[in-house]
């Protein structure tokens, strides 16, 4: 497929198109952020004894006394060279801060996503084939419960039940602190800490995905070509899983592409309740602390991921549906 000249051209064109879009996003976001009252120095030293002169000095050291457009070009000039500046919160390069936390969020989100798909797709397909059966109704209820339950409530419930009351799971954090372990033990330790947050995230997301799959399958199952397949005498299993599912997979596959940025954006509430050192909390703190450099770096990363996700969706769409020819 990728050997296909049209496809390569298409992807290249989309990638090139991303550049002006990213530039546009960076301008809008930069100016929006700059318009929030207060800056990093205000946030850090609001209640310190520093004199106004000293505060002015420190703002000057960070370039905060310059006009916004000038600050933008300084940032952009550095960003193109891969330097996203220093986080005022952490006194570390923005890329380092992101790198420290984002993979924690990623593994949590990835495992949850895989689990979600692994459960939602079979359940959704089966529900669609046995519409209005007991199975279907029960899982519909579960799905809506999952969608409606606020994430912090679910997280706290899981934490209280399995950790505080039963003691089966660790309370919070990514690993047990204060104990030396071999790499294998450490791996098992992290996995154990992941259990509750993953259950929480999966339960939140599974409802929507299940319904989505179910709806998509239902639409396909009533098509004429499915009736044709049945009338040809094909086993029901083949009809559903080979013919129906492959067609229903089209919207599902594009849905996967759209989930890409979500894997890196961190689940703020779940991570906070479970003390998981993810990027969601860091990002919220950076807004609060007016950590401009971090905000810009992270938002640009997300923007890039959103566009890559869209591209991935479109490409997968054409892969799964031979009728589509990307232009």
């Amino acid at each position: 497929m990728f050997g296909d000249y049209d496809m390569r051209q298409y992807i290249t064109r989309r990638l090139l198109l991303m550049i002006p879009i990213l530039i546009g996003v960076s301008i809008i976001v930069f100016f929006l952020i700059a318009s929030i009252p207060g800056d990093a120095i205000d946030a850090k030293f609001a209640q310190s004894h520093l004199t106004p002169q000293r505060i002015a000095q420190m703002k000057a050291m960070l370039g905060l006394n310059q006009p916004v457009w000038k600050r933008y070009f300084t940032w952009a000039g550095n960003a193109i060279q891969g330097n996203f500046g220093f986080s005022t919160q952490y006194n570390l390069p923005v890329s380092t801060v992101i790198h420290t936390f984002i993979w924690n969020s990623f593994i949590l989100a990835l495992i949850s996503f895989i689990l979600e798909m692994a459960i939602a797709i079979p359940v959704g397909v089966y529900s669609a084939t046995k519409v209005h059966s007991a199975f279907d109704i029960i899982f519909t209820i579960i799905a809506f419960a999952g969608i409606s339950l606020p994430s912090f409530f679910l997280a706290l419930l899981l934490q209280k039940g399995f950790s505080v009351d039963l003691g089966w799971m660790p309370l919070d954090g990514m690993q047990t602190i204060g104990v030396t372990m071999t790499p294998v033990q450490r791996f098992a330790d992290v996995c154990q800490h992941m259990v509750l947050p993953v259950i929480c995230l999966t339960m939140e997301g599974i409802g929507g995905t299940m319904r989505y799959v179910r709806t998509s399958m239902l639409e396909v199952v009533h098509q004429d070509y499915i009736r044709t397949a049945r009338s040809k005498g094909l086993p029901e299993r083949i009809v559903i899983y080979k013919h129906a599912l492959r067609n229903a997979a089209i919207p599902i596959v594009t849905f996967i592409g759209g989930a890409l940025p979500g894997l890196f954006s961190g689940a703020l509430i779940t991570e906070t309740v479970f003390g998981w050192p993810g990027i969601g909390k860091i990002f919220l703190a950076s807004i609060d602390q007016r950590d401009y450099m971090f905000m810009m770096g992270y938002v640009m990363l997300l923007a890039l991921l959103v566009m890559l996700g869209n591209l991935l969706s479109d490409v997968l769409y054409s892969v799964v549906d031979p009728r589509i020819r990307l232009k």
């Binding site: 009252p37 004199t51 420190m58 936390f101 924690n104 505080v164 919070d172 602190i177 906070t272 609060d288």
Partner: protein, 577 residues
Amino acid sequence: MKHKNSAKVASLALAACMLLSGCNGGKAANSAAGSAAQSGSTSSHAISASDGQLIAATSNKVPAAAATRKDTVIIGVNGMENTFNPLYNENSAVQYVINAMVSSLSQNDSEGNIIDGTAHLTISSDGLTYTYKLRDDKFSDGTPVTANDYINYFKVLYDKSYDGPDDPSTVPVVGKEDYTNGKTKDIAGIKALDDKTLQIKLTKVNSSAQYQLGSSEPISTKKYGSLIKQGDISGFKKLSMINYVGDGAYTLTSYKAGQAATLKANPNYYDGAPKIPNLIFKEVAQGSELQALATGDVDVEPDISCSPDNIQIGKTDKNINMWIQPALSYGFIAVNCKNPLFSDLKVREALLYAIDRKSLIKSVYGDYASVLNCNQTKISWLYTDKGQKTYDYNPEKAASLLKEAGWTKDSKGNLTKNGKQFSFMFTATKNNPVTDVLIPMMINAYQKLGIKMQAEYVDGPTMFNKHQKMTYDMVFMAWMLNADPDDSFIYKTGGAQNYSGFSNPAIDKDYQEGLSAKSKDAMKAAYTKVYQQINKDLPCFFVYQRDDCIGFSARLKNFKSSSYLGFENNLQNWQVG
């Protein structure tokens, strides 16, 4: 003032955003000249059982998770950042760690008096020469600490490129500016008379100098001297603090962002090698503090708020001790005195009389807070309520004061004067336990007087910004305090943090008197006048002084803490059993 980041579900607010974290505990100074400096009481003797209240654990059975940790103690903190350099930190959680890593020249006793830290202070009778006689401390690598190591600290602080949170401009050390401007290679007023004697000369008497100078920590010349170049201290600023050679009880061995900071005992610590080999400061989410303690996840949890609910939980959980000590802070309502509505003293008095502060703090903090009427904590040796008004809740008096000020109710019941209606905006952050109760109370009370108060909710930095730019009418805030009583930067005319626009030359004079006092008695006399006058003039509405609560596991022995001398300065005697 140190400050804490707390990024949580909407509520920065809280005591957190305003009660930004604690100041470092070690800034304190001894009595000036004349009266002999207090003899070297070490930190552990300076704390007594009466410095606070202990709700003791009744059982020694601790959760299994904690019991198996025989050589490690875990302390819960929230919101650590990677700023472990003592001269560049203003994060309260990290300050705990720093206090365990380095020691300062002076410490404070439970009333805020200066006592010996790593040195004994003598001040000359003219109040201009401070002589610190160092004791025999050693760095963690075995090198003895000398006076030159302390001079390094000042070389960083006074350097032209220093951009940290400490303000070097407040202590008038001889030759400071010349060093900053590069005119001299050394700071003329700071000399090492010998290895164990540090002498600092001031250009004029300053009673706050002892507190600020006393908080200096030594920087090993042997290891880091080469990083401190005049005009360029970036090498020191960027130094990784892992395995930093300090003279404190512990050394930082690792830091995992968002998770924990791990330290190990310093065998060369002056007061003896700590009995607990490993110390860990672990991130605990806000709201989970008691839970973490109850499950044995942590052994010490310093950030428990003294709400009646928490105290109850602490009492019922048999293996949790709760140590309650007065917080070094006060909550107050900042009032924009430049607003014509509030510029009349009678009006401010009326507005304060209309607030039932006793009921407010009773409902928020139960018995663990009290009404405050001036700008000093009640445990300070300088505190006095002599000659001060108590402004007890009195809505009738409020009404009559407003009338005297020329405000009358119109036909609709609104308070008006010269055709202008009395109406203003109260700016607050969401989910703050105090303003959640205070604001409805005020709206109600003022409505009865015919005053229309509205509330707007913004986030922390926005609120601070409004406060600083003086575009607010009223906000609820808290000031953190430390042993240095000089808060003139808030209340004097044109003070650096005077965001109320308040001005009274008499108070300015009293502050000046306090600063140039050469004896404890003179200081006390001057500050008594300051507190009396501020109490009378109401530049802001003082609301409360509350307690802090530190929870610790029943398995931890020899835990000692006081408001001015936090537990993290006394780790070497801790034992688990």
